[in-house]
Amino acid sequence: MERSQPRRQVAAMKQSLFDQGLLDEQFIQLEELSDDANPNFVEEIVTLYYRDSSRLISSIEQALKERHPLDFNKLDTLMHQFKGSSSSIGAKKVKAECTLFREYCRTGNAEGCMKTFQQLKKEYASLRKKLEAYFQLARQTGPMETACRPK
C-alpha cells in the first residue's frame, strides 16, 4: 500500500530516538493515552513541555547569573521542576542532565552546575528539533493504529 512507506519512516524515526537514548518508556505510555478522539495528545503534551521548559531555562539562566554566591536551593528547586516535566514526556537524556545538575547543587559545585547547564541546553535543543521533525512527519502520515513499542 502507498501508505506503508511513510509509516515505516515515522516508525524508523521513532526507533532512532529511542536508540539514541533520547526517549524512554514514558513516551510510549503517553502514546497509549491517545485515541481517535484525542489523536494528537502526545504532541499537545510535548508542546506544553516546550512552553514550561522555556520558562524554566530562562529562570535558571537568570539564577546562574546571580552569583556570589549561587543560590543552590533555588537552582535545585527550579531544576526539580524541569526534571519532573522532562520525565513526564520521557525525555531521557535531558532528565539525566537535570539529575547531574541537582547533584552539583547538592555539593555546592558552581562550575559543575554551569557546565551541566550548557550541556542540558544542548540536549534539550537537540531533542526539541528531532521531536518537531517527528511530529511533523507523523501528522503528514496520518494516525497510526496503535502505539508501537520500539525494539
Partner: protein, 124 residues
Amino acid sequence: MASAANVFIHRLPEVSAHELHVLAVDDSHVDRKVIERLLKISSCKVTVVDSGTRALQYLGLDGGEENSSIDFDSMKVNLIMTDYSMPGMTGFELLKKIKQESSIFREIPVVVMSSENILTRIDR
C-alpha cells in the same frame, strides 16, 4: 509525578455503577494534563487543580464558614492524588490539613506521589 501515577492508576479497580471522582493536585501543567487524561481514560471523573490551596478551596476547607448547606454529593471526591513537592503547600502538608478535618473529609484516601528517589529530600 505522571509516571508514578501511571503505575497507580493501572491498579484501580473497575468502576461500574458510580464513577470515581478524583481530585488531582499538581503544580506542573504537563503533569496535570497527563494525569487528567489518564484518569479520564480509566473512566474516572476528574478535577485538576494547581495547588494545595486550590484543592482546599475546592473541598470547601479553606477556613471559610461552614459549608453545610452545599449539596456536597455533586462534588463528592472519592480520592485525592497529589504531587509531593509543590511551591507553597507540599502534598504532605495538604494531606495533613485534610486529615485534621473531623468530618467525612478525613475518610477520603489521599495519595501523595513524588518523583524523588532520594528519601532525605522528602521532609518528614
